[in-house]
Symmetry: C2
Subunit: 671 residues, 2 copies
């Protein structure tokens, strides 16, 4: 893009034909003028639309061109007119890759002629001259029609031999001629949309998955002792039984000892304190090494294999920072921020200090070697069998780096999913999604009230944000114990779980959620005695747990394809300000699930909801079934308006499967 | 723009520094990614805003760069943060030209340091290392600070000699140092928005004018005889008295005789029939010639001078087509559509035929010479003194041609205003506005009901259409006598006049409107005995005329600056579906005019309107004056809700000037 596009064209003596008269505008989908790719998943259909028009009345034709991003071979799909100069075409996306799409439009001279001569014949006008024009058009095509030329020549001969103008025209308008013309039409005068657009076709797990997040060292049973990957393997049946697809680990690399943090982030660690997994690197290695206390590389490969056998994939955590003991600190001090006295700066957010962590300086003079080192590490992880990577604090590294890294990785590994763990200003979060992160953490964790949930979800799923950002909704993380869970207790855990798992098609919990663990550092959204700083052992059957509820929700998600989609969310009226009503439905409405959630964890509420039954093909006076997938209860309802009652101490939410009552019409005897 | 922008960057060995971390997005105003210019007028302020951000916490600075489109010298305006990563800057537009604007953003290293050290000092931390960093930043600037270097060196010396860290910091933070740093700051790591955008700064008449349209040959007094430019000069006082600024003529060129049309578009003209002015060209010349029956070129120049003396400018009509007798038909037959038998095609819209007109073929092989001929003709007209050109049917010629022609003309003549007379599909009309037409005919002529007027005007004035399309609202044209005028009679003429003159800041009538002329060809929106085909003589004092009403409306427009603006239109609630209520207000609300129009020309209506008095600075319980500028009546009102009654047989509309009641506070004796 340059300024010359807004300046006048000068007419060059070498230009043989005038600039194309055809305009191609407002091509959708596209993000920021095509600067960034849009996202879809395997199995989707990409609908591309555009305004395509020119002056006057001449007919046009247009094609959508599609190629793999690493190929130069275009496929073409005929675009058809939708209405008022809007055209469209659709492409089935059946492969995990990136596709480039472009639009080309050109005059349809034969179509224009066909239309004109039909009008003139209908008006009884003499069309001798027009017949000659039609023959000129076909003559021009004969030259490049190859094996089809004979058909055209035969039509031209028939036209010339015809006894009437009507017959002479008819010979030029046969189905056969139309087909040949279509195959060999001229593209003279064509216009090409000036931007080639890109769609990332991710695998389905980018859109639909349930994440379970844990510290692998907490998988054991011996208090005060760190677990190993073998202990994690023992946990796989439990995670599978709850219905999770992705098991995410905090960093598994060697942990530094210099300035190691003790329990509850204290400065003086005791010898037995294991350190924070984010203080990456020690004599045992850095980001491409595994903490020996967790096991060996072979153990980790075995864990990945075992997980796969349980239908679970392992997600790793990429935190680009180093402990003072990381090999980088010796081998590449230039990658860090250097003080005037020559020492490396530790991380700080004045007045806070993180003496156990060195941040990386992406502006350093040897930035290229740093970028390539990160790519090399990704390839090591991929070789271990990892296909999903949660990136810690990506918003403190340049978006240009992420764009490069993700694109480089996708060249050979399009199945790798990157999740952006950015909690920062909205535009920065969006920029990270635009440059290639498949999924993003969101503000969901802090959106508790009806209006703020509705506004935010509409922004995410019903504006162009949906084209590039997939929100992975976390109820909690190892860094965040939201106040609603601290205050609202078990009912709040159920409420936030239903919301996360049904507002988005991809969601996650951090382990302990199923136990309703909610002891905070007083006054903060942090866990007391956090696993970040110590070895933990959990009683996974602890009284008061909601394991059954988690299991039910994940089962319902699997059984209902409407819940596998992201942007099919619709909100519905509910009179009470604490009751949120929304639905998801498949395009054919064969599967429709309505969620009704009491957002108040303390008090029961009753309200009238209004469902868009007409959109689902249910008549105003028609009875239909609403089966609560959580309680198993079935209601026979008629009409859009229904009254619901939700007591958070019993069931704070309903997930209603809506089904038309099969109507049997006795037009034939059935016995 | 190429596909590579969506493909990964490869890191070149020659790149010394990493890609800029700064993102510049969503720059406004812009049209279609900067492909087309936006429009403003002399006296406006251009507000440019953008999302500007990067990863992390570093401070940024940004400048808006502006240059004349024919210069390479940039002016720079500091952008300031608005909120949440949005930045803005404003530029006063004081010259009729085109301006190119661009955005550049870069790290503010000194600002980042200032912020960090303030936090650390406040926390009582040791800042020895940070002081050294601050000195490094200033040292780097010394090298290019020229005459300012001494100030920095002095500050550095003071800092080094300081007795405490606080004093050492203070020396680096003086107002003087801040000023020098601001003048010589580094732009290392800068990002440049990839598109240079353009704004056309038209003269004010592009936005604010009242047009009067006429056939110059109808300016006379002798029935059956054509008038001359001298007769038109006699009409100037009348046109001026009514308050019009622009006097537009149908084509004034020689008219062909071949297949000349007679009265009411009949095929066999009589010898005395003058022909249609759009059948341009004869032995007497073409588009650069003047119909001898109107006068000479000198007469036309004299008319332009006389008009200017009456505060009126003359607008010409550009119809790119030719009669069979046009010199082009002999000299450039290749510019036309050629039949297979070698003859030139006349215009047709099957089954309609226009045998007196040859359309021009813009796709012809010698298209370049045609484009240049049109430019030459424009320069002839400009030499005559013409600065406003209404273009007939621009939508049948390529937009690429208009973009080139208008841009070429604007190089030396930025004051030339082109009006697009396109009545066609919406996207084509918008495309013509985008490529440079200063004004556009609109669908206003056919929008009669409240909902359709409101929807259309919101699209025109409150969406991004307002950035490039200025609707010139015509009540009627020599081609269009709308049904509402045929049916609604005199009240309808008043209603449509008020709407045209106040919904848009630029509007026009076709002569005869002020006489309420409304005799149609039965069943059509065309004038019976149209001036297009015959000589006419008018009685400008004909009984039943609305000359006084026209005069009043144009006077009120002049007196009220709120009515000079285009996109300050706001609609207000009115309960009755036939009453339209809207207002225009200056930014400071010193001038506010409320229009209340009964859209029903047959029946009186009464309704409650709701005015946004709070926005105008009027309190809920405060009395204010509403003076009807049409009737002269004044109302003392309190509150937003008022009842109005409008009888179309008396006054179908009110134009209320809203004024706060001057409140005198006796804080001092006034006698």
């Amino acid at each position: 893009m340059t300024s010359t596009s807004t300046l006048p064209r000068t007419i060059g003596a070498t230009i043989a034909s005038p600039p194309s008269s055809i305009l191609i505008e407002s091509v959708l989908p596209q993000i920021d003028g095509g600067r960034y790719p849009v996202k879809r998943e395997v199995g989707d259909v990409l609908h591309v639309t555009a305004d395509i028009f020119r002056e006057g009345h001449e007919h046009l034709a247009a094609v959508l061109k599609v190629r793999d991003w690493q190929s130069s071979d275009w496929d073409e799909f005929e675009m058809t007119r939708i209405d008022n100069d809007r055209w469209g075409a659709s492409v089935s996306l059946d492969r995990n890759t990136r596709l480039v799409y472009a639009i080309e439009a050109f005059p349809d001279r034969y179509g224009t002629w066909t239309d004109e001569i039909a009008k003139k014949l209908a008006a009884g006008l003499d069309v001798a001259s027009e017949i000659l024009e039609g023959r000129q058009i076909l003559d021009e095509i004969v030259g490049r029609a190859g094996g089809d030329a004979a058909d055209l020549i035969e039509a031209l001969d028939r036209s010339e031999a015809a006894g009437s103008q009507a017959d002479a025209v008819e010979a030029l308008l046969t189905t056969n001629v139309v087909a040949v013309v279509g195959r060999h039409r001229s593209r003279a005068g064509k216009a090409v949309y000036p931007v080639e657009l890109t769609v990332i076709v991710d695998r389905v797990a980018a859109r639909y998955a349930a994440w379970y997040s844990m510290f692998p060292r907490s998988a054991g049973t011996v208090p005060g002792q760190g677990a190993t990957f073998r202990d994690v393997i023992d946990q796989l049946p439990r995670v599978q039984a709850m219905g999770f697809d992705v098991l995410y680990f905090t960093p598994i690399h060697p942990i530094g000892t210099t300035n190691r943090k003790g329990k509850n982030n204290t400065l003086n660690a005791k010898p037995e304190d294991p350190g924070v997994p984010y203080a990456i690197g020690s004599d045992a290695g850095g980001h491409d090494a595994i903490n020996p206390s967790l096991g060996t590389e072979d153990d980790f490969r075995e864990l990945i294999r075992q997980a796969a056998a349980h239908g679970i994939e392992i997600a790793m955590d990429l935190a680009i920072q180093a402990s003072p003991d990381h090999p980088w600190a010796k081998d590449h001090p230039e990658w860090f921020f250097i003080r005037p006295d020559g020492t490396i700066k530790y991380a700080e957010n004045p007045p806070k200090k993180y003496q156990d962590i060195y941040p990386v300086n992406f502006q350093n003079a040897d930035w290229e070697s740093l970028w390539h080192e990160m790519k090399r590490i990704m390839l090591v992880w991929i070789d271990w069998g990892v296909k999903t990577i949660r990136v810690d604090n990506p918003h403190t590294k340049p978006t240009a780096f992420w764009e490069w890294l993700i694109t480089e990785i996708h060249r050979d590994h399009p199945d790798v999913i990157f999740l952006s763990e950015a909690f920062t200003r909205p535009k920065v979060m969006k920029a990270l999604a635009k440059v290639g992160f498949a999924q993003s953490y969101t503000y969901f964790t802090w959106r508790n009230f009806k209006r703020e949930i509705t506004d935010y979800l509409i922004e995410l799923t019903a504006t162009d944000v949906k084209e590039y950002l997939r929100g992975n909704f976390f109820t909690n993380t190892h860094d965040i114990l939201p106040y609603v869970l601290q205050e609202g207790g078990r009912p709040a855990f159920k409420i936030r779980l239903v919301l996360a798992a049904t507002l988005s098609s991809v969601y996650g919990i951090y382990s302990g959620y199923e136990l309703c663990e909610n002891t905070p550092v007083p006054g903060k959204e942090e866990y007391l005695n956090s696993e970040k700083y110590e070895f933990k052992v959990w009683d996974w059957d602890r009284p008061g747990n909601i394991v059954e509820y988690v299991t039910a929700i994940n089962r319902i998600r699997r059984e209902h394809p409407a819940l596998h989609e992201y942007d099919n969310l619709r909100f519905h009226d509910a009179a009470d300000e604490t009751i949120l009503c929304y639905s998801k439905s498949t395009p054919d409405h064969a599967d429709t699930v309505v969620m009704i959630v009491n957002l108040d964890p303390f008090q029961p509420h009753e309200t009238v909801i209004v469902l868009p039954i007409g959109e689902w093909g249910i008549g105003d006076g028609e009875q239909y079934r609403a089966t609560d997938l959580l309680s198993g209860e079935t209601f026979m309802w008629t009409g859009a308006r229904q009254t619901v009652f939700l007591d958070p101490r019993q069931e704070p939410a309903m997930m209603l499967s809506i089904q038309r009552w099969a109507h049997v019409e006795f037009t034939e005897p059935c016995f």
